[in-house]
Amino acid sequence: MAQYRPVDQGSTIKFTVQNFGFDVGGSFAGLHGTIDFDAQNPLNAHFDVDIDANTINTDNSLRDNHLREGAYFDVKKYPRIRFVSTNITATDKKGILLFTGKLTIKNQTKDISFPFQAIQSGDDFLFRGSFKINRKDFGVGGTSTISDNLEVQLNILARKAP
C-alpha cells in the first residue's frame, strides 16, 4: 500500500462556529503525519494525521491569541490536534467512504465518524470530508456566546511519500 504525506499547500482545514448567532470561520494548518492509501483497496487505508493547534486563524489576532490560551486550545500544553483512523468502510454511495477513528484535542480523545471522498490528482490524493463536533467534549472553552457545536471541513492534499 502506498504511503502519502499530508501537506499544507493545497490543503484547507476549516471550521465554522456560531458566535452570538453569526457564523465565524477559522482555519488550521501545520499538517503532519502519514496516510496509507490504495485506490484499488481503499478499505485497508489508514490515516494518522495531526495539525498544529497554534496555527489557528480566525482573521482576528486578538481572538486567535485568546483561543490559544488555556481555556480554549491551550496550545502550549497541547500543541497538536490528531486524527487517527480505526476503520475505513464503504458506503452505499459510489466514491464515498466512511472514516471511523479517534480525534484528540487537548489530550481528550473521542470517537469520530464521517463520510469522505478520495480524489486522485496525478500521484496525489485529495481527501475531502466534513463533520460536526461539540467543542465542550474536548474541553475547548466554557459557557459563552460561542455555540457548543461546530462544523469542520477537511480538504487534505496528500503527496506520495518519497
Binding site: 458566535n19 452570538f20 448567532g21 453569526f22 457564523d23 465565524v24 470561520g25 482573521d59 482576528n60 486578538l62 481572538r63 491569541n65 485568546h66 490560551e69 481555556a71 466554557g142 459557557t143 459563552s144 456566546t145
Partner: protein, 141 residues
C-alpha cells in the same frame, strides 16, 4: 458716525452667527454620509458616533477599529461600511441587546448611547476592558 455704528452692528451680528453656527455644528449630523448604520441613528453626529466607538467599544472591550472593521486595501485603510467581518454583526447584536436591557429592565424609554447618552447598562458593565469576558479574568488588552 451712523455708518460706523451700522458697520459695527453688522460685524457683531456676523460674529454671533459664526460662533453659534460653530457651536451647534459640533453635535450636528456630519456631512459625511454613513451608509450602513443599522442600529445607531442614521443622523448620528460625528461626535456621538466617535464617542460610542472609542468609549463604548474600544475602551470597554480593549480593541481597536480593525477588530470589527475590515481592511479595504493593503495599506491598512478600513472599510467602515463593510459587513465583511462577523465581529461587526456581533457588535450590532450586542448593541441591540444593551439598548433593550436599558429599555426593558431599567425603564429608560428611549435609551441612547454616546455623548448625550442616558443608558444605565453599557458595554463596560460586562466587558470591563476585557475583549472576551465570558471566563472572567480573560484577556486584558
Amino acid at each position: 458716525m451712523r455708518i460706523k455704528v451700522k458697520v459695527l452692528i453688522i460685524a457683531g451680528l456676523c460674529c454671533v452667527v459664526t460662533v453659534i453656527t460653530a457651536a451647534t455644528s459640533i453635535n450636528k449630523p456630519t456631512d459625511d454620509l454613513y451608509t450602513n448604520l443599522q442600529v445607531l441613528p442614521k443622523d448620528i453626529s460625528k461626535k456621538d458616533l466617535q464617542k460610542i466607538m472609542v468609549d463604548d467599544f474600544e475602551d470597554a472591550l480593549g480593541v481597536s477599529c480593525s477588530f470589527c472593521h475590515t481592511q479595504k486595501n493593503e495599506v491598512g485603510d478600513l472599510d467602515f461600511a463593510s459587513d465583511a467581518k462577523p465581529e461587526k454583526q456581533i457588535a450590532r447584536q450586542m448593541l441591540r441587546m444593551t439598548l433593550n436591557l436599558n429599555r426593558d429592565y431599567f425603564k429608560i424609554e428611549t435609551p441612547v448611547m454616546g455623548a448625550t447618552g442616558n443608558v444605565a447598562v453599557t458595554c463596560n458593565t460586562c466587558h470591563r476592558g476585557d475583549t472576551f469576558p465570558e471566563e472572567g479574568g480573560g484577556v486584558k488588552n
